[in-house]
Amino acid sequence: MSGLFAVFRSEFRRIFALRPVFSVLIVGSAFYGLFYPQPYLNEALRNVPIAIVDGDGTSVSRELARRIDATSDIAVTMVLPDLVSAEREVFARKIFGILVIPRNFERDLLHGRASPIALYADASYFLVYQRVSGGVAAVARTLGAEVETARLIGIGVDPVLAGAASDPMQLTAVPLFNPQGGYATYVLPGAFVLLLQQILLMGVGLLGTLPGTDPVENATYGPPPGPFATVAGKMLAYLLLEAVILPLYLIALPYFYGLPRLGGVIPVLVFAIPFVLSVSGLGLVVAAIFKRPLPVQLVLATIGMPFFFLAGFAWPTEVIPPAVHEASLLVPSTSAINGFTRLAQLGAPLADVRGEFLMLWELTLFYGGIVWILEVRRRRNARRAAVGVSSREPQIARVV
């Protein structure tokens, strides 16, 4: 036990003593927490510029344009004579949609015929397309319903019934957990978990490859700590560090950026324990594979982004090939992004994330076990090299 504590203390000191590790774990955490969210902080796209090609030029067509311009989604910034010139502006990225109001728009409407309008919206950016098409469709629907009600009243239907006839069954869509459909609210809770994982992986990977990682060498007095004490002591040191950083990322930062949340603090912290331990284990495995600090840095820098798309957050798990999904469960973030967002954002009870919770404990045992076996083997080899071949048998006996 004292061996475990000695390892714990020396590893915790190394976090602050080694400059690269300190830069990644402390400076890096602070930097990413402020830098990463910047693109999303405006939450929503507003006033996406579009052009109107008004072939009708009547009061109704102008009313339609005015109402579209009045929505928060869209701004009518150009009125152009034809579709060809409008298309050029789309190619130049000056506008992101074209609304064509055909000739006789008003006349057809007054005659009780369907009077279609055509919308060409830029789908090379999905969020833009969604804004423009959603905004125009909503305005056209409202204006259409008004026209229809007026017509029905015109042919002598009771006004109350006329309203019902144009919209007999209302569909009310209630967005849950992210009522404004904000982009930061959507991306950041998941991204923060991924950032925590990548930063911790890199920190642990560096700690495991920089000089001084072997506690046997460090033991100045007393017996050197055993393999289990070494692995457990290191993991506890990372757990203590994350006991400060993780609440900052998952509780303070979301609060600072004003992200809505329904969950309590305690379930998040309970869920965080196997998350931190499994990531620490994986980090030590990564260190054992790459052996030198620079390769650890290079590989971990590259590999983070794909992990985000594996978590079923931006792209639904249902359409990821099952084999890929199963394999992705080996990375803690796959279960952790899901678990943390459901606990914190959706306010789910711990029982609803037990699958993810257990998976993280399994990963802790799995990676912890690998690191333990590697540690046992490394010592055996080191001692064999030191003592020589003659004392081989007692060595094995002692280890077993």
């Binding site: 693109p39 996406v48 019902a164 007999p168 869509a173 849950l176 982009y183 090939p321 306010g347």
Partner: protein
Amino acid sequence: MLARRHLHPGFWLVFWREIDWLRRRPFLLAFITIVPIGLMALLTMIFSAGLATRLPIVVLDLDSSDLSRSIIRMVDATPDTAVAVRVGELAEGRGMILSGKVHGLLMLPQNLERDVFAGRRPEVVFFYNTQTLTIGNLTLRGVNAAVPTAAAGIRLSLRTAQGQPVEEAQAALSPIPVQSHALFNPTLNYVYFLLAAILPSLLQIVVVTASAYSVGMDVETRYRLRILGRLGGGLWPAMAGKLLPYTIIFLMVLGVSDAVLFSILELPLHGRGWLLDIAGFLFILSCQLLGALLALLLKPTASAVSIGTLLTSPAFGFMGIGFPRLGMNAFAYGFGALLPGTWYLTARIDQTIRGTPLDLSWKPILVLLAFVVGFAGLVAVRLERMRSNAVRDAGSTQAPALSEAVS
């Protein structure tokens, strides 16, 4: 070959030395070839479906009438949504959303059918999870398509009951129909939208960090820099010989990923292939020069690699694919403009799905060219500074240089 290389210091000597060096450092070679290609293969598998269809939702049917059943059938029949389960009460459905099994809940109220035909305008409510924004919006699209279709049937019967002819009633249902066209990506395929943009941003990380690493190895100490200069017969040819092998390898990696995108995933090429190639070449070159510049400015190499990572690994958000740059704050907009990837993606989208006319295609390519010229200029200035420092300290540096070399 070997003998000639040793005889003439210059560009080619450094070039071949670099290739030898890569052969003897399998990690670096793997990092610039197998790692990006492997990650691209993984991402391609993730997005192989292209469209997210039949997303599971849950239905709470409190009416159990012909109307409610036909609404459920229609919701299940849209490509976006699938009715995975039916529940008896709201709490059960809520639990299913919280556990992540379904993305939304459609509630059909009691007496729905009766109230509709009595003109009481009952409410059908769809609760959907917008924590996962895109997925939630897809389920809403499905429900939004299905429920009004069911309502249209009712409106038609309400009108024909009033004695209106069927054709006239049909035209009156939707007085202002919107014919919506999705320009450039008519099927809203995620492969063309997201995957095609993720791959270059992955390459941006690899190129910048690997260049910082490989250049850093040769310029980390003054002693090593002097060796590089001697081998190349001058620092400039040496630097060119050092970078070129990587340029060739990165172009090959980009070629492999583009071959997969264009031939297997059928990404359209509506613009000009040669313009795309120029943009790709300038993109890789500017990323390499950025990496080299970091290595020249920051010692030790580990710091250069760290800063390269800090700049490029969170870059995807700043390049404005998921959340367009149009909606960003000034800082994010400005930082995005400083990333080569932002302009390469613009050029890529122009030449692949958009088919932008030639005269409107030049801006991103010129910006990339400006990056190449600018970064190359800064690299040159920095190299000159380092050389003049070396010359100035020539007398006194012998001892420190040696000690550096030993350490």
